[in-house]
Symmetry: C2
Subunit: 315 residues, 2 copies
């Protein structure tokens, strides 16, 4: 039987290598590389890739035998949008493993924000005891832009904490934890009614610049905006102006248009804003591996792979 | 029919007065006072009190007709333990309204702690982008000292977030969200097995100094301790030593033995500790009022009141 040659390209190549060795998959030769430079020796012989799109984009044109790429990330725009980069292979990403992490992130930040715990933390350093009456998220209304597997988990956690949940989707209404759905041209009505607005959208042509000054002007002045989707969804100058003028109260930005955010970037000066450096959900190798293992079995059996990316839609 | 005279004594007397006026309860004359000094004119005529134990302790001996006191707080030790203070009346407190607030507090702080978000917040001020791989609480084990209505809510929220839940109680095993119960002399075994230890106990003779150096020495060096019960449960010098020596990793103290904590107190210097100024759960008047209304109806009908405090047990 012909062996498959898998090239692993991620910063966590050692951990993936160990997990792959333990999995002992049939007919599989494994090569590991911590970045695209280290991957060079294996490009001609490999027919499968497991790794990070930021590295894979640099070598996919030079790996002619590769017919399937399993991304370790959810976001694949670095492959889908890279100019002059071949797309005649199957690209699969990881889904359904980020919901719980994203829920932890979203609700910890919402609760800390309404409790004013960042100010409390600053006051602790000055040994100030402030027994104020903190607010709670219980009873508030959360709005989710996008209700996929991440939005669905955030919706269920919202219901657990006693929130009302609104969702804005293209057309889907499949998540029963959403109390009310909005579609199409009802976006401004949707954002104007919520206390907390959470963007979970991937980068696509439809999400780019979706959140601009018109949107922020329609939101409640007490509202909190959290971006765990992609930075490209936000017109960042408009967001800062909205925060400065009190059109919205707070922002939590896990993603930005430019990452890492350089020290002189204007977003660092945005008032009432927490920046979390793209850490709201990470691809833990031990969560990614079951997806690769299942897809590898499907690949060998010539059955459809899971989580295939549509290059046209971008996700 | 004889009217009842209710004396309201809390900082939030105005809000309670408004809610009582809206409730339009039968046969009820209402007097409001923002502290015990302001209450003096109404002591002889009042037969009911609704308010904060810290004020009521000063006037209960001078209000001979009072036969029922509805505390707006859960903790009633300021009445139960006050020396030379009469106890020949019915004392009821508020329960079952703090669980959701306490759950918000506990899980927001646990998630922020494991994500190292306090360090991230400090780094944001210096415009440092740190894309580290944050930890999650999913899959960890939480231990609850006390599984009453608060502990039960924390347990259910723990299960929602995918944690294993252990509980230490005197004997009760009624909460099905607890995976494993411990009692009696198995306390050290209990604390040694958990990643997060949450004290929810009220102040009683059994909870005083429960958490001392023996307990902290038995805990995991990576563990996080949260106190949302009472400060008296902790030997505070032992806790600081344990934090300094790395016997435990972090502490979140919502309650302390001395409140407000004075600026020169040694707890402010405890490493890896967050102090939150007794704000983890507050008695919102609109949550307390339904309890008073129901108990007032029971009082008029001569049926047993809800949430009666046992002066001997202290809760």
């Amino acid at each position: 039987m012909t062996s498959n040659h898998l090239l692993v390209i991620t910063r966590h190549a050692a951990e993936y290598g160990q997990l792959l060795a333990e999995a002992n998959l049939p007919d599989l030769v494994i090569h590991t590389a911590v970045d695209h430079q280290a991957a060079r020796p294996y490009l001609q012989t490999s027919n499968l890739i497991l790794g990070a799109p930021a590295f894979i984009r640099h070598i996919i044109n030079d790996a002619p035998q590769v017919s399937w790429v399993q991304s370790t990330w959810a976001g694949v725009e670095k492959l889908v949008e890279a100019p002059n980069t071949r797309q005649n292979y199957q690209l699969t990403n990881v889904r359904d493993i980020f919901g719980p992490q994203m829920s932890e992130f979203v609700f910890a930040h919402l609760i800390m924000m309404v409790r004013q715990d960042w100010a409390r933390y600053d006051q602790q350093k000055e040994r100030i005891w402030r027994h104020n009456m903190p607010a709670v998220i219980h009873g508030k209304r959360i709005g989710l832009i996008g209700v996929g597997s991440i939005g669905g988990d955030v919706a269920r956690t919202g219901k657990h904490f006693g929130l009302e949940v609104w969702g804005y989707t293209r057309s889907s209404e499949g998540c029963t934890a959403v109390d009310r759905y909005f579609h199409g041209d009802r976006f401004l009505e949707f954002v104007s009614g919520v206390d907390f607005l959470i963007n979970t959208l991937p980068h696509t042509s439809q999400s780019v610049n979706l959140l601009d000054k018109t949107v922020f002007a329609a939101m409640k002045p007490t509202s909190i905006f959290i971006n765990i989707g992609r930075g490209s969804a936000v017109v960042e100058r408009d967001l800062v102006t909205a925060l400065e003028q009190g059109e919205i109260a707070n922002a939590v930005l896990d993603v930005c248009q430019q990452e890492p955010l350089p020290p002189d970037h204007f977003l660092w000066d945005a008032p009432n804003t927490i920046i979390t450096n793209h850490t709201s959900a990470v691809s833990f190798p031990n969560r990614v591996m079951p997806i690769f293992i299942e897809n590898y079995q499907r690949f060998r059996e010539n059955t459809p792979l899971k989580y295939v990316v549509d290059f046209g839609q971008g996700y």
